[in-house]
């Protein structure tokens, strides 16, 4: 309970600093007042157009995240179990991780033009190495004694994979989700902003082009809140999944 009040105080402090900045710097252009921004955000997110934009961004985030987990986990498992495969593919994974978003952007714009595929692909590429490398770390962290025990008692491989590998990886999967959701929102927004098409990123681009700074702030704040909300939602689903798996 004490932490709740502290968090609330932290948010209040943030709004106060924002208000001071708005008064000091303000000509209404650079930093709009919090009250104006919040009012605009509330209006935005009750309009059908903005709700649709939020949905368009949200499903891209979900698809990119799902692809990164569904492809990253098995590959990470394979690389964790096979030293040869790990050393063979590690340079590729590291390169994908190191390439800046902007470089992928030019590639996807040339390939697919404006549309949903670019943001999804770029977000996937930014999350995929994290999913692979975290899974590899999870496999390397596995208690070898448990595997030795399973080998001694001739436990079937499928059961070992389910009970020992998956059980050991669950905290790592939770960590991947933890880090990835926020990152996915950021990357999808940037990609939408630069590729165009639809979604909140594109709405921010339109507001910028109209020099509608309060709208840029309101949309950004809305995106942050949606990001936090989806993070909490995914964490809750992951916790339920983990609890259900433990009970199974």
């Amino acid at each position: 309970m004490k932490n709740f009040w502290r968090t609330l105080a932290g948010i209040a402090l943030l709004i106060l600093l924002w208000q001071i900045a708005a008064v000091r710097l303000n000509k209404g252009i650079l930093v709009p007042a919090p009250s104006d921004t919040l009012r605009l955000m509330a209006r935005n997110f009750t309009s059908l157009e903005m709700l649709l934009a939020a949905w368009q961004t949200a499903w891209k985030v979900f698809v990119a995240l799902a692809l990164a987990i569904l492809l990253g986990l098995p590959l990470g498992l394979l690389l964790g179990l096979s030293d040869g495969a790990y050393h063979l593919l590690r340079p590729l994974i590291m390169t994908v991780q190191a390439v800046p978003v902007i470089s992928w952007l030019s590639l996807v714009i040339f390939t697919w033009g404006v549309g949903w595929r670019g943001p999804v692909f770029i977000s996937f590429l930014s999350l995929f190495p994290l999913a692979v490398l975290t899974t590899v770390a999870g496999v390397h962290d596995l208690d070898k004694g448990l595997l030795e025990m399973a080998r001694l008692y001739r436990v079937p491989a499928g059961k070992v994979l389910r009970e020992i590998h998956l059980g050991s990886l669950l905290p790592f999967i939770a960590a991947i989700l933890d880090v990835s959701v926020g990152q996915a929102w950021k990357v999808v927004l940037v990609a939408e902003y630069l590729c165009g098409g639809d979604g909140l990123g594109e709405a921010i681009l339109t507001a910028r082009m109209n020099v509608d700074v309060p709208a840029v702030w309101a949309l950004t704040l809305g995106a942050v809140l949606l990001g936090l909300l989806s993070e909490a939602l995914i964490k809750s689903i992951a916790r339920r999944f983990q609890a259900a798996w433990t009970r199974s």
Binding site: L146, M149, R151, L152, Y153, E163, L170
Partner: protein, 229 residues
């Protein structure tokens, strides 16, 4: 009768560290053998090689056991699974209640390993070995972290199990009383690289009373022999 386990001139080194030197053993089906020797001599390595968990270096090994069970020094329980699930992990059809009763842990079937003491986890480790109905039971200092009363009761439980199932028992221990209670033959190993120094036959009744005069005399004699090495 063919020996269940036969080793001939078994050697093992880890890089340049020689651990086992020319170990030759024959262990008959149903026989109970204790290995004793200084810490770090290579006893666990020998057990692991016999169980197939470690490859031998030079020499030969024949293990005819169909089902081996190993009570490790550390409990090696799956942390996110309950006691019952840990037992069923190695034998889904096993009677987990019966083995838990055997190690006096029947009340703890739904506990996670983290909620148990070290000694209790070790008892589950033993129950996990028993649920597989092994024909070779290997104990690697299995009772090290268990208090004396429980240890004595567990040794008796193993003895009862042996009377009914007649499995082959191979144990490593530093406790002369444990070796004398559980084994028909005690093999003394040298310091690393381990080689067989002496084999002592234990010609007492199969069900032994550790408070009997005969047992206490044998214990004193074994301690004397160990001290002389």
């Amino acid at each position: 009768m063919d020996a269940l386990i036969t080793t001939r001139d078994l050697c093992k080194s880890f890089d340049r560290l020689e651990v086992l030197r020319a170990i030759s053993l024959d262990i008959q089906p149903g026989e109970r053998v204790a290995l004793m020797g200084p810490s770090g001599a290579g006893k666990t390595t020998l057990l692991k090689i016999i169980a197939g968990l470690e490859l031998p270096g030079r020499g030969s090994l024949v293990n005819r056991a169909q089902r081996s069970a190993f009570v490790f020094q550390e409990s090696r329980l799956i942390p996110w699974r309950s006691v019952r699930e840990n037992l069923l992990f190695v034998n889904g059809q096993g009677d987990y209640r019966e083995v838990l009763r055997c190690v006096e842990m029947e009340e703890f079937e739904n506990y996670l390993p983290a909620a148990l003491s070290g000694g209790m986890r070790q008892r589950v480790n033993l129950a996990r070995a028993l649920i597989t109905h092994p024909d070779l039971l290997i104990l690697d200092e299995a009772f090290r972290s268990i208090d004396l009363n429980v240890k004595l009761r567990l040794m008796k439980a193993i003895d009862r199990r042996w009377q009914s199932d007649k499995f082959t028992l191979l144990c490593v221990t530093h406790d002369p009383r444990e070796a004398l209670f559980l084994a028909d033959r005690i093999i003394l190993l040298s310091a690393r690289p381990a080689s067989i120094l002496l084999t002592i036959g234990v010609d007492m009744e199969k069900s032994r009373d550790i408070s009997s005069f005969e047992f206490l005399c044998r214990e004193a004699s074994l301690i004397h022999q160990l001290a002389d090495l």
